[in-house]
Structure formats: structure tokens, C-alpha cells
């Protein structure tokens, strides 16, 4: 007979499943945006893009060994980084294209909104575990101003955008797996695994 869920475990599983849906929707939208972006920027969809500075990599070694807190913290750091990168892409889009191709601008803004919402969702999960939420690098930057981004040429900006969207799509997949992992009850206590055993 399965042990009755404690209220926080039930809330955590609810947050995880909502997070999984959010990440799934985000991934679909990012893939659509990626197709539109490649076409609109005249890029070659198969172009290999070197690792772009400042873009968090979704690939991780020994994924299974990560604790729940590590998963959440890494996810949160990544989506905060994507929030800043997408905001910069949106700014560049407006500067370069003005009102032309407003559709792409709207799609970019929509994904930015989802990324922000997902970051907030991750903070909720961390709050639930009364884990301190790491300072938002962005807010700290706002006090002394964001470091000026390196002046990229337009082609480099295009490639960076491609790299950002590709990696974001990968992160959405990883986030679904991470949240599924977090939602699983751990064998011993029947509570959601991962978070409890972290140091």
C-alpha cells in the first residue's frame, strides 16, 4: 500500500508536472522559432556553430548522479542565461530589422516570456524545498550595469542566435528529463526523490 503523500510532496509533483508541460511547450515553440530564424537570417540549417560564449551547454556528464538540488540550480542558471541572451537577440532584431519581419520578433518575444516563466517556476520549486534561491546575476548586474557584450559582427550575431536557440531546444529536453527525475518517488521514503537526499 503506497504511503499517503505529504502535502509538500504532492505540491512538488504538481509543480514538476506543470514544469514538464511548460518545458514541452517551450521546446515546440523554440523548434518552430529555430526554423523561422534560420530562414529569415538566410542561414544554412546544417551550419556547425562553435560553442557560443555565455550559452550554457545542455549536455552534462554523469547526469544520473546529480542531486535534485543540483538539477534545479543548473536549470535555473541556464534559463536565466537564456533570458538575457534572448533579450539581447530581441534588441538586436529590433535594431537591425525595425518593424520588418515583426512575426519573428513576436515569436522571439513569446519564447523569452516562456523562458522567464520557466525560470520563475524553477525558483518556486527551489523555494518549496526552502532552498535559498541563488542571486540573480542579472539583478546584480543591473546595479553596476551589465558587462557590455562583445561587439560581434552581424554574421557572428546571426550564428550566435542560431547557437542560442539550438542549445535552448536541447535544454528544454533536458529539463523535462530532470523534472521527471525529481517527480519520481524515491524507493525508501516514497517521497519525491532527489531533493531529500541532497546534502
Amino acid at each position: 500500500m503506497a504511503a499517503a503523500d505529504s502535502p509538500s510532496a504532492a505540491l512538488r509533483r504538481d509543480l514538476c508536472s506543470r514544469g514538464i508541460r511548460l518545458a514541452g511547450k517551450m521546446r515546440a515553440d523554440v523548434v518552430d522559432l529555430l526554423d523561422a530564424y534560420v530562414e529569415q537570417q538566410g542561414l544554412d540549417a546544417s551550419a556547425s556553430v562553435a560553442a557560443v560564449e555565455g550559452v550554457p551547454l545542455a549536455a552534462v556528464e554523469r547526469w544520473d548522479e546529480q542531486t535534485g538540488t543540483q538539477r534545479l540550480l543548473e536549470n535555473l542558471a541556464a534559463y536565466r542565461a537564456f533570458r538575457a541572451l534572448l533579450a539581447q537577440m530581441l534588441e538586436e532584431q529590433r535594431e537591425q530589422l525595425g518593424e520588418a519581419d515583426a512575426g519573428l520578433g513576436r515569436a522571439l518575444a513569446a519564447v523569452l516570456l516562456q523562458v522567464s516563466a520557466f525560470a520563475y517556476h524553477l525558483e518556486e520549486l527551489l523555494r518549496l524545498e526552502s532552498r535559498g534561491i541563488p542571486g540573480n546575476a542579472e539583478e546584480e548586474e543591473e546595479e553596476d550595469g551589465p558587462p557590455p557584450p562583445p561587439r560581434l559582427s552581424l554574421f557572428e550575431q546571426k550564428l550566435r542566435g542560431l547557437g542560442v536557440l539550438r542549445e535552448l531546444a536541447q535544454w528544454a529536453v533536458r529539463s523535462v528529463r530532470d523534472l521527471r527525475q525529481l517527480a519520481k518517488p524515491s524507493p525508501a521514503t516514497g517521497a519525491a526523490s532527489g531533493l531529500a537526499e541532497s546534502p
Binding site: 529569415q40 537570417q41 538566410g42 542561414l43 544554412d44 551550419a47 556547425s48 556553430v49 562553435a50 529590433r94 535594431e95 537591425q96 530589422l97 525595425g98 518593424e99 520588418a100 519581419d101 515583426a102 559582427s153 552581424l154 554574421f155 557572428e156 546571426k158 550564428l159
Partner: protein, 490 residues
């Protein structure tokens, strides 16, 4: 034997000449006595020299030179030199400055014409050579003309390359020819100057990339793009948009492609991509049109507070964002300039200019520019003759009886300087649509009234009003909203 021979004299400045000679094998060394005399010299001028070259004045007509080799008693030779025997070869010019302007791929060359040593008014020809690549291939040779003014004048010349200056090193050489018509001797070009050089990125350690970088060019241009890479990197191909182009090698670190008659690019520009064995370099070029002159420029005022100018922009430029076509409205009388916020996409080209105190006549120049070109249109207008009032508002019936009715309405705007003409449209089920004209002094943001009589009793009428300037009609305002009223029974 042992005597001087082959005396030759050359002048570089038409004042002095440099004479040189050979000595036959035996008399090659030792000191010599060099003497010369001309018709206008009373005595011979002599001096000793070990060099076999001497600088002496140019004779008016001829000069007699005697060279005696001190070591050998009988080795004395006399030469008579006429002006026609003297060659005139100007001094080799030297480049004062050679400055690149990379965004425009233009070289600016400055040099001194050394005119102070020559008489006033001589014609000078300058041949300028541009060379490229490691093999110093001549790209172009141009002749530049100037007139000497007996002063040293710094001459300046620009050259725009058909390829970005970053692509490979460019070299410049210059030489000159002075058309001294009064000088009898043979005249020739000077030597070439030492080459000035503008190093390309391919001469720069670590220099790499596709050039030009993020440029804006006119549709129909023939473009050259180059890919600068490391020496050991093999270049796979270069594409412009989706098409691959044959590459030309400029140097061991630079390859180029040539795109002819470029067509308009899409809003995000056309990518020029250089694929290397282990990497990607690229640039973006925006190909668009220079702006057309604005057509049908028209300006009117709705309220004597603002002047609204509209126009037809002509062909879209194909440029967007910060490269879009920008408009500004300049008024000559007041000197005031206004930049216009024009939407690229929804195509309504309107610009507002404030009505200025005590100014009726406006001499407008609508300036339009984008990175490719600029154009303008002008219009002289008296705004009292260009009144297009706003739609009358709050049309209400303020009184009525069986055969007449009083109407009141409001028009936003300051019309104190003109008379207004308003037209009231009256319709009813019994009779045809009638229009009544009523004229009144304009006022500042005010209500206006009118009375209509000769109406039919017990009849439902619909009324609406529009207005314009009375004295110089320009355009009616839009119709106001309608109002309905039934006259009372008789």
C-alpha cells in the same frame, strides 16, 4: 688613353645640372681638374674633384667643359654642351601620406609637387600606379594633371578600390613629367617613387574574416568579397546567399569572389559565408535602393497648431532597422528642422511640423536619406490656404419648432485667423437631401451654431455637418456624426 669620356648632363630642376663622365681604364683614379665657361662668363670656373660627377649651372645656350686628369699630363678633354644635349628628368616625387578609408575602400594619396624649384605655370603630369597582391600586380595606372605655381603645393588624390582594402595589401607608386616647353633638351619621366603600402588583413598576424564587413550597397552593384584566413587553413568554398562562387586567390591568406549585378537582399541581409576546413567566417551585406524623391508632397493644417505633410515615398529601399530610409522636414524661413517618425511597414508617410507664431508661409524641404543615397522634395505653402479642419464634434440640436431648428457643434483647433464655411446636410424621408452653407468667423477651439428654417412641421430630419476654410477652400473636414430631430406639429 686615360682621358675623360661620355660626358652626360641631366637636370632635375632646370637650374642646375649634374654632369657625369667615364674615364678610360687607365685613368680611373686620382684627382681631376674640372673647368667650365659660358658666353656670359668672363673667366673660366675651375675646381678639383675626385668624383666623376659635378653639379654646375645650366647654360642659357651652351657651355664649354674641360676635364684634366691631374695624374696623367696629357689626359685633358674638352666638351661643348648645348642645352639640347641636357636631359630634364624631374626629381623623384615622394609620397607624403597614404591613408585608407576602409568603410569606403578608398585610398587618399598626398604628395608635394615640389613646384618651388620650377618657374610658374608649367604643366605637370603625375602617373599614379596602384598595385596589389604579393606579386605587386598593377591594378590601375592613372594620370593626374596639375599646374606648378612656383610654390610647393600638396596635391591630393583619392582612389576607390573595387575590393575592400582589407582583402590584401595595396601599394601606390607615383612619378612625374614636367612639360617645360621652353627647355630645349630631351624631357623624361622621373623615377617611380618608393611604394607606399596599405597592408591588408592578410598581412596582419591573426587577421581573418570576410570583408567588407556588414556593408550596405546599391542594387546592381558588382561586389568583391574576400575571405582572409590563416596560412595553414584550407578554404572549402565561399557562398553569397545560397550560391557558391568561383574563388580568386589574392594571396596565400586571402581568397575572393566576385558577385555581379547584386539583387536586393532580404530584410536580414545577404550572408557571405566562407567555409574553412575547421571553421566558418562570414559577413552580411545589405543590398537596397537609394531613396526616390518623395512624390506628391502636400502639407495642410487641421487646427493651426500643427502642419501635417504627406507624400508618396516611391520604390521601397529594401533596407530596414537602423539602415532604413529616414525623413526630415526642414523649413527654410525659420531654419527649423524636424525628423519624422515614419513606419517602414504600414507605409503611411506623414510628418508633423509645428505652426510657428506669426508665420503663414512655409518653405519646406522634405529630405530623405538612407546609407545608399539621398533625395529631397520641396514645397512652398501658405497654411491659411491649406486648412483641412478636424471632424466637427458634439453636433446637437439646441432648439426647434415646427419649421426651424438650431444646431451647435464643436471644432477642435484655432481658426481665429480665417473664416469657416460649414455645410449642413439635411435629409428626411419626405424630401431629398439638401445642403445648407453657412459661413462664420473662425475661433479658437470653439463651438459654432446655425439655424435652419423653412422646414416641414411634424417631420423627422437627420442632420450632419462638415466644414472647411471659407476664403481659400482646400478640403472639407469629414462629416460629423449625424443627429436626428422631429419638428413639432404646426
Amino acid at each position: 688613353l686615360g682621358g675623360p669620356q661620355n660626358l652626360k648632363c641631366v637636370t632635375h630642376n632646370l637650374h642646375k645640372m649634374l654632369c657625369t663622365w667615364d674615364m678610360s681604364s687607365r685613368g680611373r683614379h686620382g684627382q681631376m681638374d674640372f673647368c667650365y665657361t659660358t658666353n656670359d662668363l668672363t673667366t673660366q670656373v675651375c675646381f678639383k674633384t675626385k668624383e666623376r660627377r659635378v653639379e654646375i649651372p645650366i647654360p642659357e645656350s651652351s657651355i664649354t667643359v674641360t676635364i684634366k686628369n691631374s695624374g696623367t699630363a696629357f689626359a685633358t678633354k674638352e666638351f661643348v654642351i648645348h642645352q639640347k644635349d641636357i636631359s630634364f628628368i624631374p626629381v623623384t616625387p615622394h609620397i607624403l601620406s597614404l591613408m585608407p578609408d576602409f568603410p569606403t575602400s578608398t585610398l587618399n594619396l598626398k604628395w608635394s609637387d615640389n613646384g618651388s624649384v620650377f618657374p610658374y605655370g608649367l604643366d605637370a603630369l603625375w602617373q599614379i600606379q596602384i598595385l596589389r597582391k604579393e606579386a605587386m600586380e598593377v591594378v590601375t595606372q592613372v594620370t593626374y594633371y596639375s599646374k606648378l605655381t612656383h610654390e610647393d603645393v600638396i596635391l591630393s588624390w583619392n582612389w576607390t578600390s573595387d575590393m575592400p582594402l582589407e582583402c590584401t595589401s595595396h601599394y601606390v607608386k607615383i612619378r612625374c613629367y614636367i612639360n617645360a616647353t621652353h627647355f630645349l633638351g630631351p624631357k623624361d619621366w622621373s623615377d617611380w617613387s618608393p611604394a607606399g603600402v596599405i597592408p591588408g588583413k592578410d598581412a596582419e598576424p591573426g587577421g581573418s574574416g570576410v570583408f567588407p564587413l556588414d556593408s550596405v550597397v546599391a542594387v546592381g552593384s558588382d561586389l568583391t568579397f574576400c575571405c582572409v584566413h590563416e596560412e595553414d587553413q584550407r578554404i572549402t568554398n565561399m557562398t553569397y546567399g545560397s550560391k557558391s562562387y568561383t574563388m580568386m586567390q589574392l594571396s596565400s591568406r586571402s581568397h575572393a569572389i566576385r558577385v555581379l549585378n547584386a539583387s536586393v537582399s532580404n530584410s536580414s541581409g545577404t550572408n557571405v559565408v566562407c567555409r574553412l576546413e575547421n571553421g566558418l567566417e562570414g559577413s552580411v551585406v545589405f543590398v537596397g535602393y537609394a531613396p526616390d524623391s518623395p512624390q506628391n508632397l502636400s502639407c495642410e493644417t487641421p487646427n493651426f497648431l500643427i502642419i501635417k505633410c504627406t507624400w508618396k515615398p516611391g520604390r521601397p529601399s529594401g533596407l530596414y532597422g537602423k539602415r532604413r530610409t529616414k525623413y526630415s522636414l526642414f523649413e527654410r524661413t525659420s531654419g527649423k528642422n524636424v525628423s519624422c517618425e515614419v513606419s517602414e511597414v504600414n507605409k503611411d508617410h506623414v510628418c508633423g511640423f509645428p505652426v510657428l507664431p506669426d508665420q503663414k508661409s512655409y518653405d519646406f524641404i522634405l529630405g530623405v536619406s538612407n546609407p545608399i543615397g539621398q533625395a529631397q522634395s520641396s514645397l512652398l505653402v501658405d497654411i491659411t490656404q491649406r486648412v483641412h479642419p478636424k471632424t466637427p464634434e458634439k453636433l446637437t440640436v439646441t432648439g426647434s419648432n415646427s419649421t426651424s431648428i438650431q444646431l451647435r457643434w464643436f471644432i477642435n483647433g484655432s481658426f481665429a485667423e480665417i473664416r469657416l464655411l460649414c455645410q449642413i446636410e439635411v435629409t428626411s424621408s419626405h424630401s431629398e437631401r439638401k445642403l445648407y452653407n453657412v459661413s462664420m468667423p473662425g475661433r479658437k477651439s470653439s463651438t459654432y451654431t446655425a439655424q435652419l428654417s423653412a422646414l416641414h412641421p411634424d417631420t423627422k430630419y437627420q442632420f450632419r455637418v462638415h466644414c472647411s476654410a471659407a476664403d481659400h477652400f482646400w478640403r472639407w473636414s469629414d462629416w460629423s456624426r449625424g443627429v436626428e430631430q422631429t419638428t413639432s406639429e404646426a
